[in-house]
């Protein structure tokens, strides 16, 4: 399920999907032609504090959080 869908120039379609991943968020932006063909897809991995949590560190270790 896309988080947002935009119409570009009345023909192309832009679809943005954001998903939680172990290290934070993954944002996938896809561009489709009028016929539905995938023209281009960008991926941005946004590393967040989720990284440290899932890396198994706690405040007691003195490292991480």
């Amino acid at each position: 399920m896309a988080d947002s869908i935009y119409e570009l120039n009345g023909t192309e379609r832009k679809e943005v999907i954001r998903e939680k991943v172990p290290c934070g968020d993954a944002v996938k932006t896809s561009y489709y032609s009028e016929s539905g063909e995938l023209l281009r897809q960008d991926v941005n991995i946004e590393v967040s504090e989720e990284f440290m949590k899932s890396a198994g560190f706690t405040s007691g270790t003195g490292f991480g959080r």
Binding site: V21, P22, A26, T29, R40, D42, V43, G62, F63
Partner: protein, 239 residues
């Protein structure tokens, strides 16, 4: 085959051994003159050399405690890697017991390491016990992503190096930061990444990132952004 998120065990040990340096000198750092060393030489000596010039971000002893590399000076004794004792915006006092007021002036750099990042497919096995960069199951070259990007400072590609920011304190936590890295015009499928030190022999591993699944760019941009340089957020932090 799995990619498990981790700060690598060997990296934690190496931090305590002083093997990794995230320091970056910013601003202008130029030397206009060198004063001959003063102080006691020999064992337990306190002799230092004062280099005068422009150090825009060196005020209030900002460089004190950093190891700086002085190179290109006409007098050999003025060159070398020394601990900075004091700094202002116009002087740095270095633990160089043999500096001399002679010869052409050189340059000042931090002994910063180059950190790099490599992307891996879901076939890779990476985790806390990973000790070094490996080419096994690395994502293939595409666009500006180049497999095996950096080794001992020699760039195979030019888009693998992470731009580090000098660690800072956020409250009582020391925090690192890397700038966003992007590979353009790339068709890449990756399920994880490894950050490693490309300046050291063996390219020791630092951090494993897991994406949880395979993410693919298609003729597009594959990028990774890193969290703020603040406690509780930074990618590498010592609380």
């Amino acid at each position: 085959m799995a990619i498990s998120q981790a700060v690598c065990n060997s990296f934690k040990t190496q931090l305590l051994q002083g093997m990794h340096n995230f320091t970056v000198l910013t601003g202008t750092n130029t030397v206009s003159s060198v004063a001959a060393a003063t102080g006691t030489s020999g064992p337990n000596g306190t002799a230092t050399t004062t280099y005068t010039g422009t150090f825009t971000n060196g005020g209030s002893n900002a460089y004190a405690g950093l190891v700086l590399c002085l190179s290109g000076f006409g007098t050999a004794a003025n060159n070398g890697t020394f601990l900075c004792i004091q700094s202002t915006t116009t002087t740095i006092v270095m633990a160089n017991p043999n500096g001399a007021n002679s010869g052409a002036e050189g340059t000042v750099n931090a002994t910063t390491d180059v950190f790099a990042i490599a992307l891996y497919t879901s076939s890779a096995t990476l985790g806390a016990t990973t000790t070094a960069y490996t080419a096994s199951n690395e994502a293939g070259s595409s666009g500006t992503y180049v497999t095996g990007g950096i080794n001992l400072g020699n760039l195979v590609g030019n888009a693998m190096a992470l731009v580090s920011t000098t660690p800072v304190l956020s409250s009582t936590t020391a925090c690192c930061l890397f700038a966003t890295i992007s590979w353009t015009s790339a068709t890449i499928s990756a399920a994880g990444a490894l950050i490693y030190n490309a300046s050291l022999g063996g390219q020791p591993a630092c951090v494993v990132l897991s994406f949880g699944a395979t993410y693919s760019s298609t003729n597009g941009t594959f990028s990774i952004t890193f969290p703020a340089q603040t406690a509780g957020n930074a990618i590498i932090q010592l609380a």
